[in-house]
Symmetry: C2
Subunit: 791 residues, 2 copies
Amino acid sequence: MTGGQAGEPQAGRWVGTPVPRREDPRMLRGAATFVEDIPRPHAHHLAFVRSPVAAGRIAGIGTEDARAVPGVLAVVTAADLGHPSLTAVLERDEFVPTSMPLLAHDRVRYAGEPVVAVVAESRYVAEDAAERVWCDIEECDPVLSLADAASTPVHPEAPDGVLVDLQMFADDLLDESLARAPLVLEETFRSGRVTAAPMEARACLAEWRDRDEQLVLHCSTQVPHQVRTGVAQALGIAERQVRVVAPDVGGGFGLKCVVGREEVVAAAVAARWRVPVRWTEDRQENLTAAFHGHEQEYRVRAGFDAEGRFVGVDADIVCSVGAYSAYPFSCGVEPLMAATELPGVYKVGRYAARARGVATNKPPTAPYRGVSRPQIVLVMERLLDKAARRLGIDRVEIRRRNTIAPHEFPYTGPNGITYEPGSYLEALERCVREVTDAGWWERRAGGDGLRRGIGLVNFSERTAYGTATMGLRRMQMTPGFDVSHVRMDASGDVVVTSGTCGHGQGHETTFAQIVADRLGIRPERVKLRQGDTDLVSFGWGTWGSRSLVIGGGAAAVAARTLAGRLKAIAGELLEVGPGDIELADGYARVRGVPEARVAVEEIAATVHFRSHTLSRHHDQLLEARGAADPPGMFSNAAHAALVEVDPGTGDARVVDYLVVEDCGVVVNPTVVDGQVRGGVAQGIAAALYEELTYSPEGQPLAGTFMDYLVPTASEIPPVAVHHLQTPCELTETGAKGMGEGGTIGAPAAVLAALNDALRDCEADLDHIPVRPADILRVLTTGTRTEREDTA
Amino acid sequence: MTGGQAGEPQAGRWVGTPVPRREDPRMLRGAATFVEDIPRPHAHHLAFVRSPVAAGRIAGIGTEDARAVPGVLAVVTAADLGHPSLTAVLERDEFVPTSMPLLAHDRVRYAGEPVVAVVAESRYVAEDAAERVWCDIEECDPVLSLADAASTPVHPEAPDGVLVDLQMFADDLLDESLARAPLVLEETFRSGRVTAAPMEARACLAEWRDRDEQLVLHCSTQVPHQVRTGVAQALGIAERQVRVVAPDVGGGFGLKCVVGREEVVAAAVAARWRVPVRWTEDRQENLTAAFHGHEQEYRVRAGFDAEGRFVGVDADIVCSVGAYSAYPFSCGVEPLMAATELPGVYKVGRYAARARGVATNKPPTAPYRGVSRPQIVLVMERLLDKAARRLGIDRVEIRRRNTIAPHEFPYTGPNGITYEPGSYLEALERCVREVTDAGWWERRAGGDGLRRGIGLVNFSERTAYGTATMGLRRMQMTPGFDVSHVRMDASGDVVVTSGTCGHGQGHETTFAQIVADRLGIRPERVKLRQGDTDLVSFGWGTWGSRSLVIGGGAAAVAARTLAGRLKAIAGELLEVGPGDIELADGYARVRGVPEARVAVEEIAATVHFRSHTLSRHHDQLLEARGAADPPGMFSNAAHAALVEVDPGTGDARVVDYLVVEDCGVVVNPTVVDGQVRGGVAQGIAAALYEELTYSPEGQPLAGTFMDYLVPTASEIPPVAVHHLQTPCELTETGAKGMGEGGTIGAPAAVLAALNDALRDCEADLDHIPVRPADILRVLTTGTRTEREDTA
């Protein structure tokens, strides 16, 4: 573990110190402010009438009975709002834009789709009135798979059911290479549909403020500025007329980095009727009608030479993206990411990939934490394990032979990506050493009737997508861009504003450390303000492991500029040049003359209260702006899982877990470790527990936590976290993104460990989640499961 | 009247257009948000136990009974809060700093001074419990006049009772000049104590926000940043931990440009108990325990030559400043302003002035609208009228002979002030012409048993105090400094932030006009945000006729910078240089090629959504910062009043009124005229109606609007407003401040008119307010009133 005493800096630097999370006291005391905690006693409440069927044509809607219920202000259909919609864009010709209506009209495209909104004086009244709305829907056969898609397209604009079809990295010589390869694997891998299930489901409070001529939307979101743009465009008003504020947000995991239709409907109602309006999603809505992810299938051909080295990989990827392109990120995000980043830390030789996003009659997908990387890591790691077994090569050794080596950086792969330096091989070796030191191999041997297996995986992940990535440039700025303002007050304390929107990541702690180091003050004196579109002109919000790197980077740039001003003023007060001043321990000191110093608060007070004593002009308040726009960079990690399988019941449990993570400079080990451990838990859940299943009619079968199995603490093992630090030269702080890594590695590690536990069986497990029944089937019949409900 | 059709620009410029006030719809619809309109259903309420006596020593306070009242959260004394106080500073050695405790302890210094605060679940409970607090106070004789002051000093720090004693502009040759003068007048002038009596009295809502680590104080104030500093200093926390927000504010007039103790107590309670706390001043508190102004006495010697030209003026000025120096402006503001600016538009020859601020057992004074200028104009104009009469010179002619002439600008007077160009003589001549054209001289002749008189006055007022003025430099920045940020959103609309705090002045309208002209868009697309310390790092707020000039000037600078960016981008899109682009009518156009144009919203969308198509770096959002720091400048005006006196009852009424105003470039004639008319009404009130009188025991005698006679519409005549425009070269917009001029000229004009109506009597009226009894006394006894209750 990195880090010294909690709360005190190492070697005079706060970066690297396990400063206790500043957010925790209010969370633990119940003093946080979530959307529901904002008092608006006279707010109206929304309830939605949702489609009872997966696909159909709306023949009629009857709202009269509902309107007659006492306490109902309005019963709102798409027509009442002028048929507003949200339309995602993607800088790809192969993308078919489709619009997502705020309320369904003409057709319904999934069970749970909002059709009518009831506005009433209480949620009770709204729900009761919603039951009196009748929707006459002519039901159609639902599209639940790729095969269905072409027969009954979900959107007329995409008659073959394909919303995005990316033929990337075609290589004419690939087939030839594979034909000559001593070993060619042809495999299919699948992952089930999941959802983020944050502790706080979606919620919003919309109100019109006359004084500001603004619709203020408090919203549980990761992307306030994207919500602002979505609301402004859907409502046809200027962006300045919309303010989106994310107060405390109880988790997002990608679910809240897209714009919910319900939130925009709330905004539309508040703008039209000029009443405050609340909507708080219940758990059933959240599981069945919010955004999903992960439902993917990979058909892969991979060729190896006799030493187990890749000669080529050909992947055909299909993502079931649901009924709509979620705004703003579009349904292209999962296919694009999968096809682009599949090779990971390995030199795959020749590479080709086709990735499709297929519309189905299920809820739309959002960039769920990890975005296709859990799948592509699973694919690559399963391929290597299979090849190792077929070729009789040690699992670690085959990885050594394929991994990009230190001397090969910067390495440009056949996917066109240039990988800046990382510790790919070092992480692998360290992980193996830690596993050995921890006695896992002895534990694996077992002897107590339980089967045990070890999974070992190694991967990189692109974080903080920048200028050249993601096809998002046509959308808004580049996704790597953010600004930050740093202001020092008359007391010498600092407020940092950022376009990020932390919702559990500890930004208030880590940004303060970064800024504190540059100003030579304690981090308690630095307060981050974020999650409010009125704070900064533009911000991309928090997703894609971007915030500390880009938002924190912008804050670092701003703080560096402010530090320059402090040094200039201190130089004047101490009668030396600014270059002779250093900022540390709350003072500006003359280098080498420790007694020649002036406190930072004294500088601040001088500027604010005695500016006439300074030669510099008063215009020079203690404020500075910074921006960051890095191109994106790769974190890497090796994960190891130790699983235990009960051959009698098929029950599998992860009993130990180990991570070696390299996210460059670690700003706060406590925060990084927490992110890693939470991610691993979420990845274990995807591997063993969570899945949103549907009936053949397209009805959701997991509408409560009785069916959607979010693991509890008793299902999650201890997770040891070890750090390597390869400083990033592309960022101001040397940090790389790391918010998703745990989630990315865990499914592959668990699946590898399960297969290792079943190493004497005939068949492999190549899908997630793995259920006890799947394990029993392998143990008893030697056949692997075929899943029916994925595309 | 200036201005064209309401709402449409003249000659392509919005500045100068009578754009309807943007603030009015919400005010007229009852949709404005005052502090009381902010919903906090669970807020606690404050009630104050106030001193029942004007002066005394606190021997004991009993709070047990009050604490026992159900619903009471706390009963708070100064000791409970650690004896916090507010201390005003002034850059003058002659100033005696005294601190004002948030709650009185040890001594009480005026009847109504807060001693104990009761915090309860409702105002009802709080008031009831407050009645159960007992205060054992050993009463002392109150200090109500300068004579009393030295015998029983209000503050031990100032044993002679004088808190500030400014001997300014001493001139050894003055006495000699006066001795040789053909005419020397020795006169005494007095003005009674008044208060602003805004429609909305003071109000606040304090709450601690855990997420922001901030005390948020919604407060009906003119100076949010000053309140922030005051609260932070009194509570011993950093400024960033305090956010002060002024929502809609129902008038201020100076009363709200100082920090109320009650507001800081509310903040202290919210910070300590972490509950939202409200306090809303009732009218009795407002009249008897808020801030006052105007209680002044001038003893003046003025020498004239035979042609009526001043040879010298010697003034001894005493201001009864009340019991404390109000924070932040101190009790030095009235004396300083009086002594510095007394000469006004006149060349007075030699000049000396002593100005004292004397502590009395009455509420503290604040910079009431006009700040001593109503008095000094009254003094100068009375002197001229008296001299004219004594010397047999026409009233207008004697003014012509003494007024600074156009060829004399820039003119530096014996008060050390340099007057930049104004229309002093032109305003006088225009006013005389308008009076004549309006037939006032015929009306004055009367014949129906009523006496009629015409008052004619001419004056200048320094506005927007800047770098060199007011002795405020040691306080915070220079008072002329403010910043503004201008941000254009993706829709091409603009948000302007400012450290000003409009509370009726129409800034939202006028700032939008200024910015719209520079960006070539309509003002509806420009939204001003102000009154919030989190919006800008620092701002002086709104007082001293500064906001349009300084805040609007900073916005103009920022808009000019942003316009440069728009031109650069438009140049790139239209393939010409930025210098060839002009911004008008919502477009960036190539000069001389009207069809070569791009809409401003298209530029904005390009920057936000298609930035990769531009050569410029993405860091360049459409935002700019501006600052302004002018040195202060002089507006001028001539006023004329026509009064009617009923010799039977002594009743006097102003029946017609006329203003010729020069505030430089008029941004919005509707707004300027509104300010002038409101100011004239307030000045008439000071001349004839309003006065806060006290009993010999120091008990306030005007605790309701039955006693404090705020005039209604039926007491105020039509006010014709004519504009001269001498553009100011010291400001970005050419505008000068003008928010106080109406108030400044009216008392002198009315008093001159009254004396003119009584022109055949022996005695003059030299004080305000003039009551019917004063008039009857002059009519019946020929003696003028001596007022007993002023210092």
